[in-house]
């Protein structure tokens, strides 16, 4: 079986060492390189072509978000897992917009890193459970204080199904095949979902899905 090749990017050697230790305990994972800053990560990604990059958001010389943007634009097949201290939606949204597939809190790196690497290598998204909780708490608090109703309740069961599949990274065609619908119908459902939830773009949709615990 082919091992999943991983590039570690963090400006702190200690953290990189810890991550390497975690990864190398797994038989199917291997660390192919370590980068010290954003620029080095971009160039190593180009030369090493790893399967997964585990990258810190806050790095000198090009931060993680900018680096992820450049990497995923040049090599969409590389899955990026963002390592961050922050569970706030500003960060999560920016990470998603930069093309990251996973968002891992440093606190929980030790327990979730392996899961995250496997998930993104498999083409799925991964978010630290603490992130979903914070996002959901913020959402619920806001609804409660403003007295507005939860837009998720407005979705039909079919729409919820499609929301989950799209958030998981499936294309319209995949969804159509899975649910036995026409691509056109899926597209209509999708635009209805976006309108009901007042969302702009896939990153916001994924964020919403994470918030509601639809995906993890």
């Amino acid at each position: 079986m082919r091992k999943i090749r991983i590039l570690l990017a963090d400006d702190h050697k200690l953290i990189r060492g810890g991550l390497r230790l975690l990864v190398e305990q797994q038989a199917d994972l291997t660390v192919v390189g370590e980068a010290n800053d954003g620029r080095e990560t971009v160039s190593l990604a180009k030369s090493l072509k790893p399967d997964v990059i585990v990258m810190d958001i806050g790095m000198p010389n090009l931060n993680g978000i900018e680096a992820a943007l450049q990497i995923t634009q040049a090599n969409p097949e590389i899955a990026v897992v963002m390592l961050s201290m922050h569970s706030d939606e500003s960060y999560v949204l920016r990470a998603l917009k930069s093309g990251a597939k996973g968002y891992l809190l440093k606190d929980s790196a030790e327990s979730d890193l392996i899961k995250a690497v496997h998930a993104v290598a498999d083409g799925k998204s991964f978010f630290s459970p603490a992130v979903s909780k914070v996002l959901l708490d913020d959402y619920v608090r806001k609804l409660k204080r403003s007295g507005a109703e939860d837009a998720y309740d407005l979705l039909t069961p079919r729409e919820r199904e499609i929301l989950q599949l799209v958030a998981e990274g499936k294309s319209n065609k995949d969804v159509a095949n899975l649910l036995n619908l026409s691509v056109y119908t899926v597209e209509t459902h999708r635009s209805n979902i976006m309108e009901k939830l007042n969302l702009r773009g896939i990153p916001e949709l994924i964020l919403f899905a994470v918030r509601r615990g639809i995906i993890s």
């Binding site: 702190h12 200690l14 953290i15 806050g58 090009l62 706030d88 790196a109 030790e110 913020d138």
Partner: protein
């Protein structure tokens, strides 16, 4: 530093001299001297006036007295002459009563005329000098003589009268009369001379009064001019001092402003460096520690519950430490500004406050550029932080709205809350001062609208500076290129 007028250079030492206690004492002395001088001048003028008034009154009285006495003498002389003339006429008629048909005068009347003349002599004013006295005594003798001869003549019978009348008239009466008139002319001349003399005295006294007055007035005038000069000089000096103090004040205010601007800068820089230290050194070490502890716990067999529990305890302590370090670092210098840009950082802050307090914050932004200067970003961030903190902690607001909009040459930030408000004219805490300082430093305007019970709106307009100089030169480039 605005350029001051040409006196700017020497202003500082002079100002310090003004604050010198010796100099102050000198000033006090000068003031006292001026006060005393003015009192003296005033006293001098009053004295001169009173003196002149009294002297004039005295002179007036003296001159009246002189003329009164002259009139009295003249009158007495006139009485003497008239009485003597009447007496003379009556004696003549008495003697010639047999030749003429004129009515015969009453002898008692004749005697009364001579007595009237004598009384007139006695009525002469008492201030007689020796010459006058001699003349008056002579006059008195003549009158006595006349009286006695009158008594003799009146006693004559008709034959005796006819016989001696002409002889008596030509040899006694006429010469006597002439002597009386001569004497009275002499007395009159003497009186005239005396009057002239006394008038001269009065004139002399008047002249001396005049010269004294001239002297006093000149003295007062000179003193007045001197004092005006001193006062003028003193006023000029005060004006100069006031100007210098104003300049010094303006300069020190300017210094204070630049100092507080530097303070804000230094504070921001310090926060940034502490935050970075905390995050980079302590935070990362703790993060690594957590990873190691996780590894360690995997090495412990599940049966060893005591060790596992201890490891879990270590992990929980380390996690708490990580969290508090992160909170402190975030408060000091949120990395969001560098990592995400202004608007996401503001949104983060809004959610952070919503989580911590009972206030829900909304953020609206309109075409805010991601390439804002670092100083502008930090200023807006701190402004919003301060305003939201005030709203949540002091005003007990339930909702707040942050609006940030950018157009071609400025960026406008508005933070409105529905709290219980305050009177911005009276309540100005350090927070508001700090906001004003930050905004002014970038050449912007801060306006606060609030009234008790009406919520508060903080509005700032910052000029857009495309090439903001970064706060520090050695900042690692974590922000977007």
């Amino acid at each position: 530093m605005p350029s001051f007028s040409k006196s700017a250079e020497p202003a500082l030492p002079r100002t310090s001299r003004d604050e010198d206690p010796v100099y102050q004492q000198h000033s006090k002395k000068l003031r006292r001297l001026l006060l005393i001088s003015f009192s003296w001048l005033l006293a001098l003028l009053i004295c001169a006036g009173v003196d002149a008034l009294l002297a004039v009154r005295r002179l007036d009285r003296a001159s009246q007295e002189v003329s009164r006495r002259f009139t009295a003498r003249n009158q007495a002389l006139a009485v003497i002459i008239v009485s003597v003339r009447i007496y003379d006429d009556q004696i003549e008629r008495f003697l010639l009563q047999d030749q003429l048909q004129d009515p015969v005068p009453d002898p008692a009347e004749v005697t009364r005329q001579i007595a009237a003349a004598r009384a007139a002599v006695l009525s002469f004013p008492s201030d007689r000098d020796s010459d006058e006295q001699v003349l008056l005594v002579a006059m008195q003798q003549q009158l006595q003589e006349g009286e006695s001869s009158c008594a003799t003549v009146l006693a004559w019978r008709a034959d005796l009268r006819r016989q001696r009348a002409y002889q008596f008239i030509s040899q006694q009466l006429i010469p006597w009369r002439t002597r009386i008139f001569e004497l009275s002319a002499q007395i009159s001349a003497l009186d005239e001379r005396k009057l002239a003399l006394e008038n001269l005295t009065v004139a002399e006294r008047f002249q001396s009064l005049e010269s004294r007055l001239v002297w006093l007035v000149s003295l007062a005038l000179i003193a007045g001019v001197l004092m005006s000069l001193v006062c003028g000089w003193y006023i000029l000096r005060l004006e100069r001092q006031a100007r210098q103090r104003y300049q010094a004040l303006a300069r020190s205010r300017l210094d204070l402003e630049s100092l507080s601007a530097r303070l804000v800068e230094a504070q921001e820089e310090e926060r940034r460096s502490i935050s970075r230290e905390l995050h980079d050194e302590v935070g990362q070490s703790l993060g690594a520690l957590l990873v190691e502890v996780g590894q360690l716990s995997k090495l412990v067999p599940p049966e060893d519950r005591v060790t596992r529990a201890q490891i879990a305890q270590i992990k929980s302590v380390a996690e708490t430490a990580v969290k508090s370090i992160r909170d402190i670092a975030l408060l000091l210098r949120p990395p969001m500004l560098d990592d995400l840009g202004l608007v996401p950082a503001l949104e983060w802050q809004a959610r952070e406050i919503s989580r911590r307090s009972d206030m829900e914050v909304e953020v609206h932004s309109e075409n805010v550029s991601e390439a804002l200067g670092d100083e502008t970003k930090v200023t807006i961030y701190r402004l919003v932080q301060e305003a939201l903190n005030n709203a949540a902690t002091h005003a007990a607001a339930k909702n707040a709205k942050v609006t940030i909009a950018q157009n071609s040459n400025k960026i406008t930030v508005r933070i409105a809350d529905d709290g219980h408000g305050f009177d911005p004219g009276r309540q100005r805490g350090m927070g508001i001062l700090g906001m004003e300082e930050r905004v002014r430093r970038l050449g912007g305007i801060l306006a606060i609208e609030s009234a008790p019970g009406k919520g508060a709106t903080v509005k700032a307009e910052l000029p857009l500076r495309t090439a903001d100089s970064p706060l520090t030169g050695h900042e690692p480039a974590m922000s977007q290129p």
